[in-house]
Point group: C2
């Protein structure tokens, strides 16, 4: 996980996880993101907890081993970042 | 909202809202439900808070006027129920 990605995600301890809130300009761009994330989840078998409303999505990536965040957990979070179209 | 639907949703007060947890046998049936719900949201302009993981979805329908649940709010919740394929 590169430095840029590390600044975007909040690292939590109980339970160990990475959290990030994504803000969107509207429902359509949110839905595109959620569809891409669903495909990424199926590809990687990583199923983060996702909560969303009209124009936001909160993503929580839990440590797969439930003890400590692995490089794979962090790599998944970084791939989630890459689903966002560069502005 | 018919009696059956009223038993399925938990009525909360602070803030006034309806909450229901939907459980699925797998990610595919969850995704079908979420896609249908997204279409219903666009049709009705009701955007409930949704949180989901691998095989569940928690739906919270807030009172549109932020004070009391209207018949329209309840009708939307019932339409969400109807997105589930009868087992």
């Amino acid at each position: 996980m590169d430095e840029n990605a590390e600044q975007l995600w909040i690292c939590k301890d109980h339970p160990p996880s990475l959290f990030r809130r994504f803000q969107f300009d509207g429902y359509n761009s949110l839905r595109i993101f959620l569809d891409r994330l669903a495909d990424l989840s199926k590809e990687t078998e990583y199923y983060p907890d996702i909560s969303f409303g009209l124009n936001y999505a909160n993503i929580t990536v839990y440590a797969s081993n439930e003890k400590v965040l692995s490089e794979d957990d962090k790599a998944f979070a970084q791939r989630v970042d890459e689903l966002i179209d560069p502005t």
